[in-house]
């Protein structure tokens, strides 16, 4: 899983922590790697899981409130739409997949007791010598790969120790890969010294993941990488690519179209494994918002264009968002960028 970070990496860190927290709750082992923050600190800040009852009640309340208001209104003008089911903005509570988390509370340490957390903090690892062949890859990446491979082998995630008690899954999280802290200069220069380090790293990592029972989330500061060819290659090498675009600091922050949301979610690619087709959802337009307790991803609703005098600026934004809306995911089809209807 590959996440393109938003500009200030506030939200991508949140997704990163969600992935790890889900691992804790499901009893998977964790491997956290970072060059920026000590992994122990990251682990301390994982959100606490919500108890099912309270959360479901909250969601249920919201849904019922909405329903009772609209029940009596029948549509006068757009009556053809009357019969369509109401749009479900958030995932329905009936399908339970994964857990929900409360962002305002950190996870209690007892939950960590039963699982093993392996960490890789680059400044601490620099003193050791790599044992594997370097193959012209950045030495930080080499050490990380070596560390991952060693954990997979030692803990038996690749089936090398069949007498281990129970099969478990290793969740790997790598933060801010490709940034300067990892010793890679693709974020700082147009013609980096070694263009292939990141892609080679990803290919070897892909091999390791395919060979073992593990899943990995990587966040990358895509907006800093000057050479777009690298991003294209990285996208081709990943199973799933999600981009987070936050509205902080951009003109969209004050745009009334987006007033309910904090950012957009772009799904660039979804995995197509073990079958000819992939499971694509009906809608591609997703936005996220961070409430006090919850981080939610919802379908993007454009508010109705009610005013008579719509200024030029917002019309252009409408066109922009229409452009966004028409783009699909890489696995299925992406429309051309500029189309006039």
């Amino acid at each position: 899983v590959f996440t393109e970070e938003d500009k200030y990496s506030l939200y991508s860190n949140l997704l990163f922590k969600y992935f790890l927290a889900e691992g804790v709750v499901c009893g998977h082992d964790l491997f956290v790697a970072s060059a920026k923050e000590h992994p122990d600190n990251i682990l301390k800040e994982l959100p606490a899981p919500l108890l099912d009852d309270t959360h479901r009640n909250e969601l249920g309340e919201e849904a019922t409130v909405v329903k009772s208001e609209d029940f009596q209104d029948s549509m006068k003008i757009a009556w053809r739409y009357q019969n369509l089911p109401k749009m479900e903005a958030s995932p329905t509570t009936s399908t339970k997949f994964g857990h929900y988390y409360d962002v305002s509370k950190p996870m209690s340490p007892e939950l960590f007791q039963s699982i093993k957390c392996h960490t890789f903090y680059l400044p601490e690892e620099l003193s050791l010598q790599p044992k594997m062949k370097t193959c012209n890859m950045n030495s930080a990446y080499t050490r990380l790969l070596e560390s991952i491979q060693r954990i997979i082998y030692q803990e038996g995630f690749d089936g090398s120790n069949p007498q281990k008690k129970q099969k478990n899954i290793l969740r790997i999280g790598i933060q801010s890969l490709g940034s300067m802290l990892w010793g890679d200069d693709i974020c700082s220069s147009d013609t980096p010294k070694d263009v292939h380090s990141l892609t080679k790293f990803l290919y070897v990592l892909r091999g390791l993941l395919r060979k073992s029972l593990s899943a990995c989330i990587i966040t990358v500061p895509a907006h800093l990488i000057q050479n777009k060819a690298i991003m294209e290659r990285v996208t081709n090498l990943s199973d799933m690519v999600v981009g987070l675009e936050s509205f902080i600091g951009s003109e969209r922050e004050t745009n009334p179209l987006y007033k309910d949301y904090h950012g957009l979610v772009h799904v660039h690619q979804i995995p197509r494994l073990n079958s000819l087709i992939c499971d694509v959802s009906d809608t591609k337009d997703l936005a996220f918002r961070l409430k006090r307790k919850l981080f939610t991803i919802e379908r993007l609703h454009l508010p109705p264009d009610l005013s008579d005098t719509v200024s030029r600026a917002s019309k252009q934004d409408l066109a922009e968002s229409a452009k966004l809306l028409s783009s699909g995911c890489g696995a299925m089809a992406i429309g051309k960028k500029h189309l006039d209807f």
Partner: protein
């Protein structure tokens, strides 16, 4: 016989064609060398079973030579010293500073050169996908040389076929990839170009495929034949239809 087919995808995933050709040639009784760089063996195996062919059985009887790129790369980098006594790894270029693909070519040549006990019809080389070699550090010229040598051996000497998948984008910034793709387009006998629809995602029509028969290469002063169809991928099958005539519309 002796044809070079290029599978090209733009804005969508053309790997369903790779699965098709794999099961097609195996069912036809050809000896296939599959250089699978992107996915693991079990992925291809599961899809092939849906299409009615067992890759494991084909490997057993020697009809299929499968190079699993991911596994081979891991063996190369994490392998112990004593495993090096055998033949050099086909993906040796990753760890060496020279970026020529000679080891990979030797692997292809030895797998497809028929031995006396072989009774298969024509050899086939299938590559999924070529753009990965660029990501792993091979220079575009090295990739083109590799394809050229493979054509000489497989198409001319052994009268076999080659099918190669590449990715391309119209406004791609990956100049090296575009160079390789354009060069291969000029040399191909048949190009199957899979594209996402210009209007974006659609549930019933997954994309369009352009079939270009390079008749112009045969020096008879004819133009290339171009046919365009749209398609929808299902679990075990892909349906093709004329543009605008999807089942959902009719």
């Amino acid at each position: 016989q002796g044809k070079f087919t290029l599978l090209r995808d733009t804005r969508t995933d053309g790997s369903f064609l790779v699965h098709h050709f794999l099961s097609f040639y195996l069912r036809a009784g050809c000896k296939v060398c599959f250089v699978a760089l992107l996915q693991s063996f079990s992925h291809y195996n599961i899809v092939a079973q849906k299409l009615g062919v067992s890759l494991a059985a084909a490997k057993e009887r020697g009809q299929l030579v499968f190079l699993e790129g991911l596994k081979s790369c891991l063996d190369l980098l994490f392998g112990e010293e004593e495993e090096q006594s055998g033949q050099p790894s086909p993906l040796q270029f990753i760890s060496e500073s020279t970026s020529n693909l000679k080891a990979l070519f030797d692997f292809v040549r030895t797998s497809l050169t028929p031995s006396d006990s072989d009774s298969w019809k024509g050899p086939v080389l299938l590559v999924d996908d070529l753009s990965i070699l660029l990501s792993l550090g091979a220079a575009p010229v090295a990739v083109l040389d590799f394809i050229h040598y493979c054509r000489v051996v497989v198409c001319s000497h052994l009268k076999g076929n080659i099918v190669v998948l590449v990715h391309s984008n119209e406004d791609s910034e990956d100049k090296e990839n575009e160079l390789v793709v354009n060069s291969l387009c000029h040399h191909s006998d048949l190009i199957l170009w899979v594209e996402g629809l210009a209007t974006g995602f659609c549930k019933d029509v997954h994309g369009q495929i352009k079939i270009i028969r390079r008749v112009s290469l045969e020096l008879t002063a004819e133009q290339d034949l171009v046919q365009i169809y749209q398609y929808k991928i299902q679990d075990k099958n892909v349906t093709f239809f004329a543009r605008g005539l999807s089942a959902a519309v009719l």
